[in-house]
């Protein structure tokens, strides 16, 4: 029996309608933000400095976490993947356990520690946990484990320095994973709402993700702030799309 196939036009139409349905909240926000022309955007940049300051805080927190995570997670992943030492497996499983914990479990200890060491109500109370993200270490460790040890042994004939091996052999090979991990950390801390509410108190250090909750319903400034809030991760994902797909997908050595 020959199964009848829907015409391509019908399938395309269904897909377009579905896509419009999914994109409709974004389109509504964009269109509403231009209700009064560019007034809402001018308000955001000029006349409402609290929201511009919140945007700067968001950028500092997310970029600081993303860039710091590269510096910390690459050596840590190299250590777990390529340098045998006693307790390596146990320590790595601890990383996985911490990674699997819901954030609400670690939020109270973070609050207590940030209070004790004087980081409460500062940007560092969010940046430092972001830098030491276990997810980035886990992702890069798996990628580095896929690189054959024979490659490193051949490289050790030229140099015995682990730092040089890591920098010139491993890092170029796991570059997609590094970019993927840092972009995901950026996205996680760009959208953070609960952690800033717990670890911060004053409006001067709140990121924009928290300040958007302060805006009232129907406030055109809120729509403009939302559009601007979406731009940074959109640009990053657009630029690093290939690396993110590679980092999350097939990371076998080619």
């Amino acid at each position: 029996m020959v199964r009848k196939k829907l015409p391509d036009v019908v399938i395309s139409g269904i897909l377009v309608l579905t896509a419009l349905f999914i994109l409709s909240p974004v389109l509504i926000v964009c269109i509403r933000s231009f209700t009064n022309g560019l007034d809402a955007y001018i308000d955001f940049f000029v006349w409402k400095p609290a929201y511009l300051n919140a945007m700067c805080n968001s950028l500092l927190i997310a970029l600081g976490s993303a860039l710091g995570t590269i510096v910390v997670s690459v050596p840590a992943a190299y250590l777990f993947a390529k340098i045998p030492f006693r307790g390596r497996g146990f320590l790595f499983y601890l990383y996985i356990i911490v990674m699997m914990m819901p954030f609400s479990v670690t939020l109270l200890p973070q609050y207590i520690v940030s209070r004790e060491i004087g980081l409460y109500d500062t940007l560092l109370s969010l940046i430092l946990p972001g830098i030491f993200s276990p997810f980035a270490v886990f992702l890069l460790t798996q990628m580095m484990k896929s690189i054959p040890d024979e490659l490193l042994e051949a490289a050790r004939m030229e140099t015995d320095s682990d730092i040089i091996l890591m920098r010139y052999i491993l890092v170029p090979m796991v570059r997609p994973g590094i970019i993927c991990a840092s972009v995901l950390v950026f996205s996680e801390y760009w959208n953070a709402v609960s952690e800033p509410l717990v670890l911060m108190e004053s409006e001067a250090v709140y990121p924009l993700s928290v300040m958007l909750n302060v805006l009232s319903d129907g406030d055109i400034l809120g729509f403009a702030a939302t559009v601007l809030f979406c731009l940074a991760p959109m640009f990053l994902f657009s630029y690093f799309e290939t690396e993110i797909m590679e980092g999350l997908g097939d990371y076998r050595l080619k």
Partner: protein, 133 residues
């Protein structure tokens, strides 16, 4: 092409954010109405002390007289003033002056006697010259 557009867009976005954050005070001063403020004088009329305000500083309407005053505002990170519209009734009016016994006017701050553009209540202003008695 998409990567170049994304990179340039992100770079421009960052530059705009930090430019407006760093130079926000100067930009707001440039865009705000430039005003000149004066303190009202005091005088005695009919054995009572009144605030004396020249009529040319005020506009008259059905509710009385209206002036704009410069009041400090904490809506901005810098020290800034906003225009506040105050409506009051004058106790006595002469040819050039109004004698006012309204306590709300005295607490409102300096009176704006000149502005380079029409003012709106609550609008940020840039004080060019202010005389204090």
């Amino acid at each position: 092409m998409k990567r170049y557009v994304s990179l340039i867009g992100f770079f421009l976005f960052l530059c705009m954010i930090f430019l407006f954050q760093i130079c926000g005070t100067q930009i707001r001063d440039f865009l705000s109405p430039k005003v000149v403020c004066e303190d009202p004088g005091w005088g005695i009329y009919d054995n009572s002390v009144y605030m004396v305000i020249p009529l040319r500083w005020m506009t008259e309407n059905e509710n009385g007289y209206t002036v704009f005053t410069a009041v400090p505002t904490d809506a901005y990170p810098e020290t800034a003033y906003a225009a506040k519209e105050v409506t009051f009734k004058a106790s006595y009016v002469t040819e050039d002056f109004a004698y006012v016994d309204d306590p709300s006017l005295g607490a409102s701050g300096k009176i704006i006697i000149f502005s380079d553009r029409p003012l709106v209540d609550g609008q940020r202003i840039c004080i060019q010259k202010s005389n204090s008695t």
